[in-house]
């Protein structure tokens, strides 16, 4: 006598069927969602690229017409009078940034070297301080420049350089530390084994090897310093005449742009565009240049 036993369905097979059914039926929806979401990401990428192109295009289009002989050789003139230029602002920016670079770069690199060679609490605290400094709002740096220098000595190029230097300093410190840390230990030890003094090692081994990273960092810091406006507004006082002496009030490109932007006079705004173009060209050249340099030097190192 045969007994027909009703075997329970194998749960694994049942589940497999259920999973496959769910997978097949949801496939279209899932693929559509994926395509749509990825498409949105592409759109956002386009959105991110458009502003740069737009800003640069406008600055070039509106700034280029302003570039003429007068623009580069004359100083700013009162509203309504033609033939104004930004030579005084160019000089001011050069002097102010120059002073900031001369003071900040050596100091920053020394501290960067210090941090690269130190561990421990002191170094960590200093590193943290440098990081915090990069996050200080630039207007507050301007206030500091006002308190420290302008209050006692009046508006001047030096006060501006002080403020800009304060902004550039932590950038150079961190970039310097990164660059110096990237120096392979083997080079250091080899030099030490040969009896070289630490100072000599730093000079002959560490600094040259880290040079590419250092240069890149400095270029980026300078690009940043060139673009800062708020600190200058509170420290340099402005000057419509040419002034090379940093102990006196000076003009600068960013402040000139700022002040001329909101003027109702067309030629003032024109001046602003021309100055903006100049600033953008210099800053972009520095930024792109530093990247190319970094990439090329990284390749050479291989």
């Amino acid at each position: 006598m045969t007994v027909l036993v009703d075997l329970p369905a194998d749960p694994t097979v049942e589940r497999r069927r259920a999973v496959q059914a769910a997978a097949a039926s949801s496939l279209r929806r899932r693929k559509l969602a994926s395509t749509a979401a990825l498409g949105v990401c592409w759109v956002f990428l386009a959105v991110a690229v458009v502003p740069l192109v737009a800003v640069v295009a406008y600055v070039v289009a509106k700034g280029l017409p302003a570039w003429n002989a007068d623009f580069f050789t004359n100083s700013t003139v009162p509203e309504g009078i033609p033939g104004g230029g930004v030579w005084n602002a160019i000089v001011g920016t050069m002097v102010i940034t120059g002073i900031a670079i001369v003071v900040t770069v050596p100091l920053g690199l020394l501290v960067g070297l210090f941090l690269a060679e130190s561990e421990g609490r002191v170094a960590a605290a200093l590193r943290f301080t440098a990081d915090v400094m990069t996050g200080i709002p630039s207007i507050t740096v301007g206030i500091f420049g006002y308190i420290a220098i302008v209050r006692n000595y009046g508006y001047s190029g030096f006060a501006g350089a002080f403020a800009i230097g304060f902004i550039m300093l932590p950038v150079i410190v961190r970039a310097g530390e990164s660059a110096f840390r990237g120096v392979p230990t083997s080079l250091n030890e080899a030099a030490l084994a040969l009896g070289a003094r630490k100072a000599t090692i730093a000079r002959r081994v560490v600094v040259p090897t880290a040079l590419p990273g250092v240069i890149t960092g400095v270029l980026l810091a300078v690009a940043r310093g060139l673009g800062e406006t708020a600190p200058l507004l509170l420290t340099i006082g402005g000057n419509q005449y040419l002034q090379w002496n940093p102990t006196k009030q000076m003009a600068a490109l960013p402040t000139t742009i700022y002040n001329s932007s909101s003027q109702p006079y067309a030629d003032q705004v024109q001046l602003a565009w021309g100055a903006a173009l100049l600033l953008v060209v210099v800053v972009l050249v520095l930024s792109i240049g530093s990247r190319l340099l970094a990439a090329r030097l990284r390749k050479e190192r291989r």
């Binding site: 749960p11 259920a18 999973v19 769910a22 949801s26 929806r29």
Partner: protein, 283 residues
Amino acid sequence: MTDAGTVTPGAEDARVQSTEAPAPETGAVVMTLADVAVSFSGRTAVRDVTFDVHAGEVTALIGPSGSGKTTLLRALNRMHDTVRTAAVTGTVLLGDLDVYAPSTDATLLRSRVGMVFQRPNPFPTMSIYENAVAGLKFNGVRRKALLDEAAESALVAAALWDSVKDRMSAHASTLSGGEQQRLCIARALAVEPEVLLMDEPTSALDPIATKRIEELVVELKDRVTIIIVTHNMQQAMRVSDRCAFLLMGEDKAGELIEYGPTAQLFSEPTDPRTLDYVNGRFG
């Protein structure tokens, strides 16, 4: 006497017919590979691979490093799709589905052919439960009952259920290496694939964890067909029913040397190179 589904011998090729001596259960063929080759930017990594995979068995891909075992394994679930320089030729059939046909959807394929990797890779931001059901959710399963049932079944099958059933919401990182790998196995099993690919699943684990996973592999073959890559010959002998031996040729491309039941491959291989390998003459 040739088994249905193995290739006919050719004088010049290195493919060898299986003589099917004391064969284990004769499973139906679940996967077929014919002339499979994988190349990257034109440089061939593995070629001339032809064999069948039988249901309910463990098939091991063995051979020294560089012989293309992992490359071949990853071709079976189209993991090379995302590699722009990769090109896969030949035919891979899952049942009667042409894996590389343009009409075949890769994501759907991967719900039928699962994979476990060399280093355990549980999703770190997910809990144990979420890891277990991750595959199901990816495939559109929403019903809680099914999710819970599949997770439990898979974790039981992976010999992990008892350890984790009371802490399913704990993070996967709280598990040991061996447990994490078993979680990954459970995660793959939960989707109820027909074939499970395992890429040297024990090479990152300690000997005790390794042993448990090997025991697991043998237990699991009733539930899912397993193809396992291993560089450890003893492991292959312990867990597999059939072996495919690959070796790097003169052109630096891996090729299939011999394929057959494990016992026979290790005791009386047909190709001298196989004999050398199983005797440990090269690693």
